[in-house]
Subunit: 347 residues, 2 copies
């Protein structure tokens, strides 16, 4: 299998001196969602980024950032995280044999993600403060201690993430719309930059409208102001002051896209719908995309038959507790044949 950095070498800043890492990132499925397409009246696809090695889109950027850190002789990396970044950083650092330090908000990271950083062997520091505070401290620590920062302020991170857009185009050309969840606002910027790079290379003719979805309780780009105490079940986008705000605003403006906010309830309904009608289990932040499309459809703002790609950024398995909090639980029954038969017939 050709790895991501090799496959797109001509579009990445890699040279013969760059150590090429790989955990099998990228090359994720783009699944046509027939059932939801019918329901919404559009041609809908899901880019399943949860099938990356650590279960999120972050691996695309992390593989490049850590490879470049190795090239530069870094002894260690550091990041702040709502969870996905730290899981990815810790995994690639393990593969590369370098130290990884992680600063994250105590009690505010989905269980699966915290477990990942720990088992990959990172030095995990949980602070009593939110993500924005964690990132601020991390930037200072990186400067002070000579560690490579691998948050999206690291330009290789967003560059690597462009590959998601390239894969979509390689498969179906440029879609009409590209819908992404927006937290720190890096990925929507990266996809847009990826589309622009591909257009410049003559590989696509047009840029999709970039649609960024935020949670109502953490919607700085929708409301045009920082959120001091961001709150949402979608922990991956629980960010009140996005580092890449300007880039994301430029992407949305130049592509005639938009930002939109959805409620936690809308997110969880979309998560259940996506799983039960398409067989895809994505984390809450990812499902904000579908919730956004539902909302636009309700408002009459979803044109018929547009070709839409939703970027499902993370695997649902990263945050099983959210689902557990919903109404779902198994039907406990005795191990008796007639009882089971009845439970099936009455279903």
């Amino acid at each position: 299998m050709v790895c991501l950095l090799e496959k797109y070498a001509e579009y990445f800043p890699v040279t013969s001196k760059t150590p090429i890492l790989s955990l099998g990132e990228g090359n994720t499925p783009l699944i046509p969602l027939d059932n939801l397409s019918l329901k919404l009246g559009v041609e809908l696809y899901a880019k399943c980024e949860g099938l990356n090695p650590t279960g999120s889109f972050k691996d695309r950027g992390m593989v490049l950032a850590v490879s470049k850190a190795l090239e530069a002789g870094a002894s260690g990396i550091i990041c702040a995280s709502t969870g996905n970044t730290s899981a990815s950083a810790a995994a690639y650092a393990a593969k590369a044999g370098i130290k990884c330090h992680v600063v994250l908000p105590a009690g505010k990271v989905a269980r699966g993600k915290l477990i990942q950083a720990l088992i990959y062997g990172a030095n995990v520091l949980a602070i009593h403060g939110n993500f924005d505070v964690a990132l601020d401290m991390t930037r200072k620590l990186a400067d002070d201690l000579g560690l490579d920062i691998v948050n999206s302020v690291n330009p290789y991170r967003l560059w690597g993430q462009r590959s998601g857009a390239w894969e979509v185009c390689d498969e179906i050309g440029a879609p009409d719309w590209c819908v992404l969840p927006v937290g720190n606002a890096g990925n929507i910027s990266a996809y847009w930059a990826g589309f622009v790079q591909y257009r410049r290379a003559g590989l696509i003719a047009s840029i999709p409208r970039m649609i960024g979805i935020q949670a109502k309780g953490a919607a700085p780009l929708v409301m045009g102001r920082p959120f001091e105490k961001p709150e949402t079940v979608a922990t991956a986008i629980r960010i009140g002051n996005p580092v890449n705000a300007k880039k994301a605003m430029a992407a949305v403006k130049s592509s005639k896209g938009m930002f939109l906010a959805v409620s936690d309830e809308e997110i969880l309904i979309a998560q259940k719908d996506l799983a039960s009608s398409e067989g895809i289990f994505a984390e809450p932040a990812s499902c904000a995309t579908l919730a956004g499309l539902y909302k636009l459809r309700k408002q009459g703002d979803l044109p018929k038959k547009v070709r839409v790609v939703m970027v499902l950024t993370g695997n649902g398995l990263k945050d099983p507790e959210i689902v557990g909090k919903m109404i779902l639980s198994p039907n406990e029954v005795a191990a008796e044949y007639e009882t089971l038969r009845e439970a099936i017939l009455s279903c």
Copy 2:
């Protein structure tokens, strides 16, 4: 992207009448494990089956079984499960728009897997009995109620799982050894059948030695007797009376392979090692493979430089609680710069 059933159509029992389902199964990374290869003195690869759509190898067989069920006009499917089968069955049934019933041992299924079956919309029946009891009842219910059983007694399941072996061969040819965790003993039989089919087709010259690893508390094939009360942290292979025992014994015998048992402690050490030295987080059952290699090496039974493929059957995110029970927890610190700086320097 060409889906699994299309890619290997000539090796599968699919016809123009078979509805071709896909959630992006198969095409999983085969990762060279440089750090562990050095440690063990072999050429070691991991086939990362946890990056399948529902996080386990079961998707390879389920996509074929559910497609064939649709072709036959089935209205619903049913399975017994230790977790992975039910997650996969529920997802493909959701995609196909048919009902899925799941019978599993109450309290004995990893949290993530239970959540998966529920969110995909299956009718989940948790019985007070073990897997072997659940399977027995499920077979009767399928006959009685006209439901398609999608456990590995369904021949399409194991046929689909052969594709894992084909992908390995397509990439690096036939390895010397192929190491798999053994629970219900279907997958080791499927890989062996896959290698045999490829040899018959003239695509490989030899069959790898098939090495099946069981947990000490659930080791019927190592001990040559059923385990009435199987117990192990590796819930995916917590099976005392494997349905595919005969097939697996034939595969091991004919390939000059072996069965081997490892302790829960050895499994958890291997899980941590795999994550922290290679950046791959696999569920405990998967890590029995590495534990088995450690054991063989210690006994002097691991030949130098053999080319070994370990099949990592499931994603570590399916069972985060096991990791939580290990010593791992984050270092909680105040959101103060000097405290953080100290926590990094002292690491």
